[in-house]
């Protein structure tokens, strides 16, 4: 696992370039997909195609093998990297190849084929400019689409000037590109073998799609007589027609281009004549197209992933990089920290777990905070946070930690014995919070005491620079039990869900919510309900989370059946009800709770739309800055809060960073505190912008409120608190 020091060093050296580039890609994506009318439809189509293709993979594999062989090529199904490399080396050897030119291919990175060929004395040349830069610098890719994203133009110029010592030192991107084009152009013409990847392969015709921008893949294939394509077995789809949604989605989702310059649909061997570029007497059409084609399909763990109900979705991935670019943590540290042996970004956890094993995936998967900002961005609708959770859960179960009596007292959890102490502490925050309120103010004093902070730092790795939550002695449920409802003739009846934080820590926002709902004619009750299980889930404690889900539904669903709506303040808990519970509950129970529950401002919006009497709500003419919550935005709920605030007379300016950086317990952990603050800095900048600086700040999520509290002088509040006077 990357330590705090390693992360700090990466943020210092590569952070700026990674941040600029990933953010540009991410903004490009938002822009590009917003122009695409059928965006959601295409995503559904893409997803369905992949589901079907992976389901029918054995059959498609056979069909593809037959077609390619009919076309005159060879198919080799490699069990693992060593097997694939041995085959590729034999092809190069038979061709007497002195040079192999390559276009960009992540699968070839996975194989380490360059090293294998170099060991035979073959000169392997990367022709993708980014890959070439890394080959010269002897560095690993930091991004699955733009591999040299961590290098600035200056760094590349220094590298080239030092290595090639050109007459006039290179400086601009134009000069660097021109130099690379000339140098590589010569090398491509001399090569015997061209090695490419393949983004998609159609079983029906043996046609592969290669998605590129530079034209190097085209040259790599056209200028050599032996073409080796390396691809994971998951790349197969039935027909060329099935390429359609992917062609429209892949560039938009990744770098934000509507389409990349070249989408080559190659049915090798090509008709293009193989020419001798120095010949100045023979017309080109007089050369023969004497070409060889080898398709190396790589298993390397994929067929086992196909059998794994949780990891299977990973095989739908088209490696577009949206889950990297939309990830706040990735934007700060890049793929050198947030990645494994080959792959990087959120989905890398699935790939690395399936290909390399849980250990490699476990090295970086804690960097996924489960914020879900990648979920809607993924063109094939993979639940990337869920894959990260599953891998975390499996890792927890794999290792044995010695019991510590103190923490065991705080975290009595029979089921998730394997999780490390820190994870169990945060995972069982419900116990901590109950104890905290019961013993407040003593617990708060204890939490702040120097000795106990040091103990927490040592045992739990809680960063001493974080302020800990202050527990309220009287919980929301207790406060509510002592009061009378103010609504005699209710319009609607609701349960206000006392989420852990609202109940024990931010009790004021709970009281405000009760008052607002009552002011709008809603009969409210606040019964004791178990916590949602978000905390254990984020630590990968799946069975504990499932247990929470069951108990929450047992408590809340009878209220729904009795005609009450469930209103939730904390977006991360609301998201549990809407998304994750689907995995933990039977369908009917899940649907009942999901359909019967509302985020609090969404609910208020609904009441206003239905003509609720708003005379008891404040009318203002004021400005406010609003930071929505990551999971709340994924569920499309941000507009409701904005609309309600505007309805009350607020001029609302909204942030557009993907995440505040706190993400539940993430920002508390010593290893991640600085990363969390680095991510938070982007939010701070927006909240300190001209025209925003003077505005009071509201935020929907508990974590965001804590983070903003740490980032700004201004004390943020929950938007519902603006609706009471």
């Amino acid at each position: 696992m990357a330590t705090a020091n390693e992360l700090r060093e990466l943020m210092r050296t590569e952070g700026a370039a990674v941040e600029t580039n990933t953010q540009a890609f991410n903004e490009g994506r938002y822009e590009s997909v917003s122009d695409l009318e059928e965006y959601e439809e295409l995503k559904r189509e893409a997803r369905a195609t992949k589901e079907d293709a992976i389901e029918r993979l054995p059959e498609l594999l056979d069909q593809l093998t037959e077609t390619v062989e009919e076309n005159g090529g060879t198919v080799y199904l490699a069990d693992d990297a060593a097997d694939a490399n041995a085959y590729i080396r034999s092809v190069a050897d038979e061709r007497d190849a002195e040079r192999v030119v390559k276009s960009k291919s992540m699968t070839s990175e996975e194989l380490d084929v360059n090293e294998a060929l170099a060991a035979d004395g073959v000169d392997v040349v990367e022709t993708d400019l980014g890959e070439w830069v890394l080959q010269i610098a002897d560095e690993a890719p930091s991004h699955i689409v733009a591999p040299a994203i961590h290098k600035s133009r200056d760094a590349i110029a220094d590298l080239f000037n030092e290595r090639f010592d050109p007459e006039t030192p290179l400086e601009t991107a134009q000069e660097l590109t021109h130099f690379a084009r000339e140098t590589l152009g010569e090398r491509i013409l001399d090569a015997e073998v061209g090695l490419t990847g393949a983004n998609f392969i159609a079983a029906e015709t043996g046609t592969m799609a290669l998605v590129t921008s530079e034209g190097n893949a085209r040259k790599t294939v056209a200028a050599t007589d032996t073409h080796i394509a390396v691809a994971g077995v998951e790349k197969i789809v039935p027909t060329v027609a099935d390429f359609h949604p992917f062609i429209e989605l892949i560039g938009r989702s990744g770098t934000g281009q509507d389409i990349t310059s070249y989408v080559s649909l190659l049915t090798p061997p090509l008709e293009t004549p193989v020419v001798d570029f120095s010949d100045d007497t023979t017309p080109i059409s007089a050369f023969d197209a004497d070409r060889e084609f080898h398709l190396v399909l790589v298993d390397n763990g994929r067929l086992a992933m196909r059998e794994d109900d949780q990891l299977r979705e990973t095989l739908y991935c088209i490696r577009c990089s949206a889950c990297s670019n939309s990830c706040a943590n990735f934007q700060s540290v890049g793929g050198h920290a947030f990645g494994g042996e080959t792959y990087s970004g959120g989905i890398a956890t699935g790939w690395e777990a399936g290909i390399e094993g849980l250990d490699v995936a476990g090295e970086f998967n804690d960097l996924c905070t489960g914020c879900t900002r990648c979920v809607n961005a993924c063109p094939v609708g993979i639940d990337i946070p869920w894959i990260n959770t599953v891998v975390r859960d499996r890792r927890n179960r794999e290792r044995e930690e010695p019991a510590e009596w103190l923490v065991d007292g705080l975290t009595p959890d029979e089921e998730d014995e394997g999780a490390p102490l820190q994870k169990r502490f945060f995972g069982n925050f419900e116990t901590v919070a109950k104890l905290g309120s019961a013993t407040a103010p003593l617990s708060n004093w204890f939490a702040d005491a120097d000795l106990s902070r040091r103990l927490m730092a040592r045992l739990l790795d809680i960063d001493p620079r974080r302020e800990l939550p202050t527990f309220e002695r009287e919980t929301l449920v207790e406060w509510f039990a002592d009061r009378e409802s103010t609504v005699s003739d209710p319009e609607r009846r609701a349960v206000l869900y006392p989420d852990l934080y609202t109940n024990h820590v931010q009790v004021d926002r709970g009281k405000a919510a009760v008052e607002v709902l009552e002011a709008l004619g809603v009969d409210v009750v606040v019964p004791p309900v178990p916590s949602s299980g978000r905390a254990p889930l984020s630590q990968g404690m799946v069975s504990t989370a499932t247990d929470h889900a069951t108990r929450v539904a047992e408590t809340l669903n009878p209220h729904i059946e009795a005609g009450r709506d469930i209103v939730v303040i904390e977006p991360s808990d609301y998201a549990m009800f809407q998304r994750e519970y689907e995995k933990f509950l039977d369908e009917a129970t899940f649907t009942e709770l999901a359909d019967g529950s509302y985020e609090v401002l969404e609910y208020v919006y609904g009441l206003l739309e239905n003509g609720a009497d708003t005379s008891a709500l404040p009318d203002v003419d004021a400005e406010v800055a609003y930071h929505s919550h990551c999971q709340q935005r994924t569920l499309g709920l941000e507009p409701y809060t904005v609309a309600v605030l505007e309805d009350r007379g607020y001029d609302v300016s909204t942030s557009d960073v993907e995440c505040c950086g706190m993400a539940g317990s993430f920002g508390y952990k010593s290893d991640y505190y600085e990363l969390s603050m680095d991510v938070g800095e982007r939010l701070r900048e927006q909240l300190q912008d001209d025209g925003v600086r003077g505005r009071p700040v509201v935020a929907s999520g508990t974590s965001c409120l804590e983070q903003i509290d740490a980032l700004l002088e201004r004390q943020p509040r929950h938007p519902v608190e603006l609706l009471v006077e």
Partner: protein, 172 residues
């Protein structure tokens, strides 16, 4: 057809590709004006089965030697489809080396018949699918000039042409 064509032309503009249109009769003069010499090309008569779309008596060398191709600035080939919503061209690599002529040059001039413009990618892929299924050919969907952002800023003209021009031959 008019809408597919106008959306194609505006898409071309968005991706930085210039366009002129020409009647079959004045094809050769127009072509000469469009190319930057030295120019090479793939004979178009066969591709389009249209004798007047000939490179004879133009400044473009048809079926050049590889060495002449390497010296050339402009490469002229046919395009089989123009795709309205993206400004993409479908280029079929042929045994006359159209792939080399469109790729190993600084300026690619693609000759496209107006009737081969389709409204959108959906339609284009259907057509391409049928074509590949029938002939076993390959197709390059080319959109704009070659480009890279790998050197710290977007630069057009990476390994392929830095400049693309479409010459639309007006239909009946």
């Amino acid at each position: 057809m008019a809408t597919a064509r106008s959306s194609f032309e505006s898409s071309l503009e968005d991706v930085g590709v210039s366009v002129t249109s020409v009647e079959t009769a004045s094809f050769r003069e127009q072509l000469d004006e469009t190319v930057t010499p030295p120019a090479v090309g793939v004979p178009l008569e066969e591709a389009f089965d249209e004798p007047s779309l000939s490179l004879a008596d133009t400044s473009v060398t048809g079926d050049p030697t590889p060495a002449t191709l390497r010296e050339a600035t402009t490469g002229v080939t046919g395009a089989q489809l123009g795709i309205g919503d993206y400004g993409s061209l479908a280029l079929t690599p042929t045994d006359r080396a159209s792939e080399l002529v469109s790729l190993f040059v600084d300026r690619h001039v693609a000759v496209l018949r107006e009737s081969d413009i389709v409204p959108d990618m959906d339609t284009a892929i259907e057509t391409v699918h049928d074509e590949i299924d029938r002939t076993g050919h390959s197709v390059i969907l080319a959109t704009g000039p070659s480009a890279t952002a790998d050197m710290g800023a977007l630069v057009t003209g990476a390994h392929g042409p830095r400049d693309v021009h479409v010459l639309i031959v007006d239909g009946e």
